[in-house]
Amino acid sequence: MVPNEIFDNYLPVALLTIIGFVFVGISLFMSRMVRPSNKTDEKLSTYECAEAPIGDARIHFNIQYYMVVLVFLIFDVVILFLYPWAVRFKDIGALGFFEMLIFIEVMIIGLAYAWRKEALEWLQ
């Protein structure tokens, strides 16, 4: 009865997602019922420390974390592969461990390479 089990297990997740959205919706709706609404141009302007904003925020500016994000993407996928291995770790014994060691080794080399190439450094 595996499909049923999955259904049983994830039913609360699905319901809780709905409850969460509904809760936020109701809170915002309740707030709308009682709160004042007195909008002025000044109030709706973007906050920039009480001065008129200079230019737009959505410009082509230097995101210095770009490389970090790229490296993260690779590593996150790699780490995901480690999970099934870790779950079955005690069953597969020494061979499985050394096989995976090679995999982790590759990962370490990748990290070392990224480090060496200064992908992890603060980008200018």
Binding site: C49, E51, F61, Q124
Partner: protein
């Protein structure tokens, strides 16, 4: 890759600009490529007011310059007048002046360090600092009834003698403060994150510091042992045993450490002052001073005339305020009002160097460096 510059307004309404200061930052990502400091949001025209008011009426305005430490402001102005008119000051009054100024230096550094730590994210220090500051403010309140704007130091002396029970409370405070400074050092100095944030940040060499006209702890943090209390001893400082604290590194950490050291030195000075306080009148006996009525205790003293005409002439007098060199230039034309009052305020001089210091740093570093410069906007804009 070609990217646009991000222009950011920091201030005037920003949590860590200590008032209404505005930085116009030109950013490349998180890197500050240019920083323009816009001042004047707190301009009240103190210098111009000085020309409209009589000499004694200007005095309360000096309280409002650097409102964290008003005693040195009072004193710097009064010292200029005393030099202008050659007023003799009784010894006890000088002792009391030094006492309150050094207390105020501790208060100032507590606020400075507290807000520095607050700016870099540790909220505890400012609460601790204000806890001790509160005790010092109680002492001030005993002395003159005010907690921040004292108007206490007057030409020719001080307004009133020390009240009863002041000395025991002072000694209590000194004893506690000694312990508290150790507490602060334990909280802050042993913190690796604090060191990471402060060491090597906002470095200014001795030469640059002099060229940019830094003063006070900011200058001494760069290894220039420039302390006016030592170089041109005024009041009773030549009789006191203390050293000017300086650190060679020139980074934010050094500037912070100078303040901690100075608090210790101030405690040392205060202990000496408390021990050797002479028993005498606080009233000047010079021709401008009016001797107290006989039979009236010296605590009630109206010794300085409201209308006061110093001889024509000009004077520049400077003192070592907690934030650095505080100078008053006063030109007298022989009337009851100053012809010109020019204030050389330490915060202003220190602030102007900041835009040069923070180039190539990040916003968090700007805040840390700004915190160690210890700027009060009332002092900057005047």
């Amino acid at each position: 890759m070609e990217t646009d510059e991000l222009l950011i307004n920091m201030g005037p309404v920003h949590p860590s600009t200590h008032g209404v200061l505005r930085f116009k930052l030109r950013m490349d990502g998180e890197m500050i490529t240019d920083c323009e400091i816009v001042m004047g949001y707190l301009h009240r025209g103190t210098e111009k007011l000085g020309e409209m008011k009589t000499y004694l009426q200007v005095l309360p305005y000096t309280d409002r310059l650097d409102y964290i430490s008003a005693f040195p402001n009072n004193y710097a102005y009064v010292k200029a007048i005393e030099e202008l008119a050659a007023i003799e000051v009784p010894l006890r009054a000088e002792y009391i002046r030094v006492l309150v100024m050094e207390l105020n230096r501790i208060v100032n550094h507590l606020v400075s360090i507290g807000s520095l730590l607050m700016d870099i994210g540790a909220a505890t220090m400012i609460m601790w600092g204000f806890r001790e500051r509160e005790k010092a403010l109680h002492l001030f309140e005993m002395l003159c009834g005010a907690r921040m704007t004292f108007n206490y130091i007057k030409p020719g002396g001080v307004r009133e003698d020390l009240p009863e029970g002041f000395m025991p409370k002072l000694n209590e405070f000194l004893k506690e403060m000694e312990m508290r400074i150790n507490d602060y050092e334990q909280l802050i100095n042993s913190n690796e994150i604090f060191k990471m944030r402060m060491k090597g940040i906002g470095v200014i060499t001795a030469k640059d510091a002099i060229n940019h006209g830094l003063t006070g702890p900011a200058l001494r943090g760069s290894g220039v042992n420039h302390d006016i209390r030592k170089l041109e001893p005024y009041s009773i400082y030549h009789d006191l045993d203390f050293k000017a604290c300086s650190r060679p590194e020139g980074d934010s950490y050094a500037r912070y450490m100078v303040r901690i050291d100075e608090m210790r030195e101030s405690l040392h000075i205060l202990r000496q002052v408390a021990d050797t306080m002479p028993e005498a009148t606080v009233v000047s006996s010079s021709k401008y001073g009016v001797a107290p009525m006989t039979g009236v205790p010296s605590t009630v003293s109206t010794y300085f005339p409201r209308i006061f005409t110093p001889p024509a002439g000009e004077v520049y007098s400077r003192i070592e305020a907690p934030k650095g060199e505080l100078g008053f230039y006063i030109k007298s034309d022989g009337t009851t009002k100053p012809y010109r009052v020019k204030i050389r305020s330490p915060s202003f001089c220190n602030l102007t160097a900041l835009s040069w210091m923070v180039k190539g740093l990040k916003i968090p570093d700007l805040i840390a460096t700004f915190g160690t410069m210890d700027v009060v906007l009332g002092d900057v804009d005047r």
